[in-house]
Amino acid sequence: MNLTNLPIGATAKVVAVKGNNAISKRLMEMGVVPGVSVRVIKSAPFGDPLEIRVRGYHLAMRKNEADAIEVNEI
């Protein structure tokens, strides 16, 4: 399951960050690494990007980036 599929307000545990590219690297640097829990806060007015909460702070990302994050809903 991808982060994008999570409903707003849901909490999940990151299983993997797919792809070996600039996006996955940046996401991991910002703390989105396997094992961490994330919560989907909201999406922007036009449906994209998403706002998530991770490690106690808020991070915005586009849906196609959130697709790279594989999660298990808690």
């Binding site: 960050v17 070996n20 590219n21 600039a22 996006i23 996955s24 690297k25 940046r26 996401l27 991991m28 640097e29 910002m30 703390g31 690494v33 396997p34 094992g35 961490v36 919560r39 806060i41 909201k42 922007a44 007015p45 036009f46 449906g47 994209d48 990007p49 706002e51 909460r53 490690r55 106690g56 702070y57 808020h58 991070l59 915005a60 990302m61 586009r62 196609n64 980036e65």
Partner: protein, 703 residues
């Protein structure tokens, strides 16, 4: 490891680069001056701490060859006579050199920046409310084997959020000193100084456990400045290892709060990034900013305007007539005055931009607008540089360095000058004051405000179209990542805000004080020389006298002056380009203004002041706007119509008339061809848009 560090400083070096390092190191030791670098995540309170440590003893420059800002100050560690050099690194999330900022920071830490010795110690600014992600940078800093001291900020906010941080434990686990600071109240500053002094002089190297030696060697080798794709797997492994270590530290040192509780920031965001109200508020904020700039700024602007006028008159009365007095009054005072008068607007605009940035709203604006920006092919982060470009394209273009994808960055740079910068304001305001003042739309909205908004809108519209085209042709690339922190809302730190405001205004004035005054003087000379032979003027005056029965003395003076400018170099230049600009409704006088303003836009107003004041009685306190309205052609028709004014405004929205911007683009893109391409396409666009405006307006029966 300890011996390794020492050896690099004292051992006889073997390689050439090491010689340089060692000499630098030696010199530093002789002077006893320490170099300390300040590193931290964006929004961690780094600027506030830097200000508290250095006071006003700081300077801002650029790292050579790039436009990454280099902020440096002196920090009186321990009240020592010989203050330490404090280097403020750019705000960083990571040191993997994926952005220019990260690359520069890395160079500083490796001692690879000219005239900057390798830092003796680092102060890592760590936001207590965002500990885990902030510690990520700390782990990377430690890998550089320079002593690190953590300055823990926002401790009181963390306490309010019932986050309990055991700083002692944190220090033990990381094996480096941790000092809680409250920079605004100067709390913890002395302790920080003490610890930094201690670390810098004892050279204790922290040993870390999250990376294996092989990983570490790979990480600090100077070769891997650019991580290629094949390295990414190893890089990801390292990131994972660092965060695993951090998670362990966090669990031991912090009693976390109940994460389900909504923070104040989340509650504010419930409104400010709301699907509907968020956008309404965004538009409202932008409108408010513009409205206040134009109403608040009026009083000081009037005062400055009158002040410079009075100064000019005073100088003319006190000094004997002659070239020098003319140069002083008509060239220098008029030129400087024409620029300084717009300072209040610039200060206000930067005040707002600084507040928006300091409070954390800028990131929300990017969040709200990213979908729109990405439709054009741009990053939401491009919003901030573009918004800054409303004040001045130069800091705006410099701010694009936060955009990591080079093509995206280039596209943003290419359209940034379409944002109506403060240098265009003089043109808009003078044109509106002269031809559209006091008129209303629907009886209550001022026509001036509508036109002003229309000019901003035109710039944005054209920028969107150009970006759309560029991203599909010359700068084709896949949509880059948008991963951006939404920092917690904070009250702005007014010291930072005002400092930033005056810094930017100072940079603008420096520009105004040099380029614009220089151009004003050149222009004055262009209109002043060659001096006509007295006979010629007399003959022409005599001709006029024959034709007219009674002519007042002032009218003769006027005609003299008008003859003078027609025969001057400027007049000739204006006449020369008149055929080209005639289809735009511009005469040679505007032609002179256009030629002059290719150096800097605001110059057009001082140029026109000179041209029109030369052509009128100097004792008469007629303002420029009245001069425009009253100016007549030879056939008696008005030189300026509202349509001419509108056409000129449209031209100024789109034309590339700023040498400084061209210079910055050249530096940021590292290519003359992009800078010249920008000048070329913008000028052509401006010409055609002005042509359509003027000819279209005439077809509709205006002008």
């Amino acid at each position: 490891m300890k011996s390794k560090i020492q050896s690099s400083k004292f051992k006889v070096p073997s390689s050439e680069t090491a010689v340089v390092d060692s000499i630098k190191g030696q010199r530093t030791k002789d002077k006893g001056q320490l170099t300390i670098a300040l590193a931290g995540n964006p929004n961690a309170g780094k600027t506030t701490l830097f200000n508290a440590l250095t006071g006003m003893r700081q300077k801002v420059a650029n790292y050579s060859g790039v436009t990454v800002e280099r902020k440096e100050g002196f920090w009186r560690l321990n009240g020592d006579k010989n203050a330490a050099r404090l280097i403020d690194l750019p705000g960083l999330y990571s040191l993997d050199a994926t952005s220019l900022d990260e690359q520069i920071a890395r160079d500083v830490l490796l001692g690879k920046v000219d005239d900057l010795p390798k830092p003796d110690a680092l102060v890592a600014v760590v936001d207590a409310t965002n500990l885990e992600r902030n510690l990520y940078l700390v782990t990377q800093l430690l890998e550089f084997k320079i002593p690190v001291v953590i300055a823990l900020t926002m401790v009181d906010t963390a306490e309010k959020q019932s986050l309990e941080i055991d700083t002692k434990k944190l220090s033990e686990l990381l094996k480096i000193p941790v000092v809680g600071v409250k920079a605004t109240q100067k709390q913890g500053i002395n302790e920080l100084a003490e610890k930094v002094l201690q670390s810098a002089t004892t050279e204790a190297t922290p040993n870390f456990v999250w990376l294996s030696d092989a990983d570490f060697a790979d990480n600090t080798s100077e070769e891997d400045i650019h991580l290629s794709l094949s390295d990414d797997k190893a890089a990801n492994k390292k990131i994972f290892a660092r965060y695993n270590f951090i998670s362990d530290v966090y669990q031991e040192a912090v009693k976390p709060k109940n994460t389900l509780e909504r923070s104040i920031s989340e509650k504010i965001d419930g409104v400010l990034t709301h699907k509907f109200f968020g956008l309404i508020i965004l538009i409202g904020i932008l409108l408010l900013v513009f409205q206040t700039i134009f109403s608040w700024a009026n009083l000081p602007m009037d005062l400055l305007d009158k002040g410079f006028g009075a100064l000019g008159n005073f100088v003319r009365l006190e000094l004997p007539e002659g070239i020098l007095t003319d140069l002083l009054v008509d060239g220098i005072i008029a030129g400087v005055g024409g620029v300084v008068v717009f300072l209040p607007q610039i200060l206000l605009l930067f005040l707002f931009l600084s507040i928006l940035e300091d409070t954390g709203y800028m990131a929300r604006a990017a969040f709200l607008l990213d979908k729109l920006m990405s439709r054009v092919g741009l990053h939401g982060k491009a919003f901030l540089p573009l918004l800054s470009s409303f004040a001045c394209a130069i800091p705006g273009i410099m701010a694009t360095r936060t955009i990591e994808n080079p093509k995206d960055r280039l596209a943003t740079i290419m359209i940034a000058p379409f944002m109506s910068c403060s240098a265009r304001l003089p043109v808009y305001t003078v044109m509106i004051a002269a031809f559209f003042a006091g008129q209303t739309v629907f009886g209550f909205i001022s026509l001036g405000a509508v036109l002003m908004l229309a000019m901003y809108a035109l710039g944005i519209l054209v920028a969107v179209i150009v970006a759309f085209i560029l991203k599909r042709t010359l700068l084709k690339s896949p949509t880059p990542p948008f991963v951006m922190e939404l920092p917690p809302y904070r009250l702005p730190n007014f010291r930072n805000v005002f400092q930033n405001m005056f810094l930017r205004a100072g940079l603008f004035l420096k520009r105004a004080g040099t380029i614009i005054v220089a151009i004003s003087i050149i222009l004055w000379a262009l209109t002043y020389f060659p001096r006509p032979l007295d006979e010629k003027i007399q003959t022409s005056s005599a001709d006029s006298q024959q034709n007219t029965a009674v002519i007042e003395e002032s009218a003769i003076e006027n005609e003299k002056a008008s003859e003078q400018i027609k025969n001057s170099y400027a007049g000739k230049l204006g006449h020369f380009i008149e055929p080209v600009i005639q289809p735009l409704g511009f005469d040679w006088k505007i032609g002179v203004g256009l030629v002059a303003s290719f150096g800097a836009r605001e110059v057009v107003i001082s140029t026109l002041s000179i041209i029109y004041s030369v052509g009128k009685d100097t004792d008469d306190s007629e303002t420029l706007t009245e001069a425009f309205r009253n100016a007549k052609r030879d056939d008696g028709s008005a030189e300026w119509t509202p349509l001419t004014a509108l056409t000129l405004m449209v031209f100024f929205v789109l034309a590339m008339q700023c040498m400084s911007t061209v210079a910055v683009v050249r530096r940021e893109t590292n290519s003359w061809s992009w800078a010249l391409f920008m000048v070329g396409y913008m000028t052509i666009l401006a010409y055609f848009a002005a042509f359509l405006t003027y000819q279209g307006g005439r077809l509709l029966g205006f002008g």
